[in-house]
């Protein structure tokens, strides 16, 4: 496969990866706390794996998705 990003500064890629890891870590931590709280309250967590429509058809989830994409990948769009 060709190197599509041969001239893309590697620092930008590293910045992106670090930003992504922050998001992933914060989400995983929050989820663990939440699942513990819910389980202790006797709440069924089946919805976590339930069939789900694409976010494109759910304004709230689409907005969350777009905000996340911007936080993680926005730096690429601002490359000067």
């Amino acid at each position: 496969m060709p190197d599509f990003v041969a001239d893309l500064p590697k620092t930008e890629l590293l910045r992106l990866i670090v930003a992504l890891s922050l998001e992933v870590y914060a989400t995983a931590d929050r989820l663990a706390v939440l699942e513990g709280v819910l389980a202790r309250a006797g709440i069924d967590l089946a919805a976590l794996d339930a069939p789900t429509e694409p976010a494109a058809f759910d304004a709230q989830r689409k907005a969350q998705r777009d905000a996340f994409t911007e936080r993680v990948f926005g730096s690429l769009a601002r490359l000067g």
Partner: protein
């Protein structure tokens, strides 16, 4: 057939679509702005801007452009992987549903041809990077439908109707009574034509047995009356003058030019005198600005589209005239509904070439 995915799989696909959207709507416009500034500052002319090697050395070196292409390729690969993984746990049930024997009261019919030889130009290509191409996996149809919807950022809505709506515009004023869609794939692109001419007898053909099985089950689920058959559009099994309307949607950029010429010859043969043929696709390179053409051309080498360049460099009006069609027209098709969201450069338009058999 319910193709709703479980939340973790859908969440990954949602983010893949989000990254594709960022690429198309945030990064690409900046690539254009920088390209236009460069062209203006250096006084570049149209001949230079349409020179692929020159554009590779300028736009191709722009880190923003490289970022957009890298993201596009990586998200495409991850998208197919995610869809396939999402359906794997349901494989047995889905395959059973797709291979269920037809019952006489069903609205749609299916005729497969186990002896059909797939052309080598087709069987070896993994179109749009879909693993196994369009025929190896029995679940090709569901995987294709879900993947393409995310690939297209759900621009067509849940119904996938956009291209079919464009064809109905191209057929406006024509009396459609018996039609054939060549390369019908999963079938849903045809539905707007069925809605516009509900009394018409509908036929769809394709090379791929798994895609046809999916189209057939899908049509039954949606109460659609269509006759599907496995056939090569280069060698149709229909007698001369069988249809008053023949069309295809984004088919001809998936075949080499020699096959396009055979398909046009067959479309002409199976049309009755006065019948109309429409080819719907994206515009030819010459009909879009140089940067759009350059960006479109990337798909030829990096998105499983080996015939894309040759097709988009072809003069389809000339080809159709040579095939015997008259009143050949090039129709740019956009509408508020079709153009509401953009693709490569924030603009989306189709072009149809329409001709009549004298």
């Amino acid at each position: 057939m319910d193709l709703t995915l479980s939340r973790p799989h859908q969440a990954r696909l949602d983010l893949i679509s989000g990254i594709k959207a960022l690429t198309g709507y945030r990064i690409t416009p900046q690539v254009r702005a920088r390209h236009e500034a460069r062209a203006r500052d250096r006084g570049l002319d149209d001949a230079q801007l349409r020179d692929r090697a020159f554009m590779d050395g300028t736009v191709g070196k722009d880190p923003l452009y490289q970022a957009s292409r890298g993201l596009q390729r990586i998200t495409q690969e991850l998208m197919w992987r995610e869809v396939a993984q999402a359906l794997e746990s349901r494989r047995e049930a889905l395959q059973q549903e797709l291979s269920r024997p037809p019952s006489p009261d069903e609205t749609a019919t299916l005729r497969l041809d186990p002896a059909l030889q797939l052309p080598e130009y087709y069987s070896r290509v993994e179109y749009h990077l879909q693993p196994g191409g369009l025929w190896r996996d029995p679940l090709t149809g569901p995987i294709y439908e879900i993947g393409v919807q995310h690939f297209n950022l759900h621009r067509f809505g849940k119904s996938g109707a956009e291209m079919g709506l464009a064809v109905t515009q191209a057929l406006r004023g024509h009396d459609v009574r018996r039609f054939l869609e060549m390369g019908c794939g999963p079938g849903y692109k045809m539905y707007p034509i069925l809605d516009a001419w509900p009394q018409a007898e509908a036929h769809g053909i394709d090379l791929s047995a798994p895609l046809l099985r999916h189209a057939w089950r899908r049509a039954i689920d949606h109460g659609r009356r269509v006759r599907y058959a496995q056939m090569n559009a280069e060698h149709l099994a229909f007698p001369d003058a069988s249809f008053d309307t023949v069309f295809d949607m984004i088919l001809l950029h998936e075949v080499p030019v020699s096959a396009t010429r055979n398909i046009l010859r067959e479309a002409w043969r199976v049309l009755e005198p006065g019948g109309v043929y429409v080819d719907l696709d994206l515009p030819a390179y010459r009909d879009v600005d140089p940067l759009t053409a350059f960006t479109m051309d990337w798909d030829n080498d990096h998105n499983g589209e080996p015939y894309w360049r040759a097709y988009h460099e072809l003069d389809m009006r000339e080809e159709m005239t040579r095939a015997g069609f008259v009143d050949v027209e090039l129709l740019g098709i956009t509408s508020d509904a079709l153009a509401r969201q953009g693709n490569y450069q924030g603009k989306w338009s189709y072009r149809a070439v329409r001709g009549r058999k004298p």
